[in-house]
Symmetry: C2
Subunit: 191 residues, 2 copies
DNA sequence: TTCTAACTTGGACACGTGTCCAGTCAAGTG
DNA sequence: CACTTGACTGGACACGTGTCCAAGTTAGAA
């Protein structure tokens, strides 16, 4: 049972949904997000466009859904004895994951800016996920009264890094290396 | 003489360009970036769509150009005796400027993600502008060997904040207040 | 004034998005 | 087995994007 677009999906529909998302991922890898059309994805999934649109509200929604699933699929424990090391391990895992699917990462950034309500839900979930991962990494190593701003700085910096990667200013493979010193700079004086 | 789209523009064309961009701004304020179409902008400027496209390569390019001009038009001196105060004044001016034109800000975020080469140029300029403003605010108050990461952290956090505003997670009017503690957190231990 | 080069235009084009709906199909229930 | 119900489909639709081009129009040089 999976929650998508407009409704909960199970039974026969669940399989079709799986096929559709699978096809979406393949198509994305194959032709990139600019060239991908909902109709080609539908065709790849062996489904009519009209049907595809009953599962996915829009192209942006498709990208957001794919990204969420990709993100959700791997949840590495932060490793390290201090907050900084755990943060580093967290950003590194995230960045590696992005680097392993650059087309998806490039697709999701503009997609999440859509005002589509189905995208909105996922946007909140994804944002919340980043926050939760950083919070988990920090643990309670930062004084209570400063966790707020520090976490917010981390999330903003990470979103900013994503944005800049989406723009092509930073290669996804360089992300982690660029982010390490930034994270260190943010944490300086808070541990 | 102004540089746009494909070529340098002057003389007769310069006026038409001005009219077109003016119309773009009005239309943006009037109907928002989702409802704006190149054709309505052209109509408002009293020009045919075909003509509009000789000035502006795409809708995204139009937004980027409008934003760049808006940003470029006001360059407040950072005020304050220490780097933190000057940074605060810099982010506040930027945020106020964004808050005064939320439609433009909302339009430019997705627009800058376009792969359109004309957008690319502006993207670099705009990114460079943010960097330059923060660098100017910091002056040489941060030890040489740490300016790099600190500046990068600032730019990333600011881009991230823009992204989140574009997503509607932060109202443009709250931006400055949200950013202040983040900037403070980043600068902690570097002054 | 006439010529020329730059500028503008209408209108069609290919293509993508997302919507709609009447009609077909398949499964499992009674 | 006939029936109901939910899933799926084909095909048209309105609308936007960005491109193209042959045919005007305009301004200034000769």
């Amino acid at each position: 049972m999976s929650i998508v677009a407009r409704q909960v999906v199970d039974g026969r529909r669940a399989e079709t949904l799986e096929r559709l998302l699978e096809a979406g991922g393949e198509e994305l890898r194959a032709v990139g997000h600019e060239a991908l059309t909902v109709r080609t994805v539908a065709a790849r999934a062996g489904v009519s466009p009209a049907t595809a649109y009953t599962y996915v509200a829009s192209k942006n929604h498709l990208f957001a859904e794919l990204f969420w699933r990709y993100l959700d699929a791997e949840r590495p424990e932060p490793t390290g004895t201090d907050a900084l090391a755990r943060l580093r391990s967290t950003t590194r895992s995230l960045c590696e994951r992005l680097a392993a699917a650059p087309e998806l990462a490039a697709a999701v950034t503009p997609a999440l800016l859509s005002s589509d309500p189905d995208v909105e839900r996922l946007r909140l979930r994804i944002g919340g996920e980043f926050l939760a991962r950083f919070a988990a990494a920090i643990g309670d190593d930062v004084p209570e009264d400063r966790v707020g701003p520090v976490l917010e700085a981390l999330v903003m910096a990470f979103s900013g890094a994503l944005l800049q990667s989406g723009m092509g200013l930073i290669a996804y493979t360089d992300l982690a290396d660029r982010l390490d010193p930034v994270v260190a700079a943010i944490m300086e004086g808070h541990l």
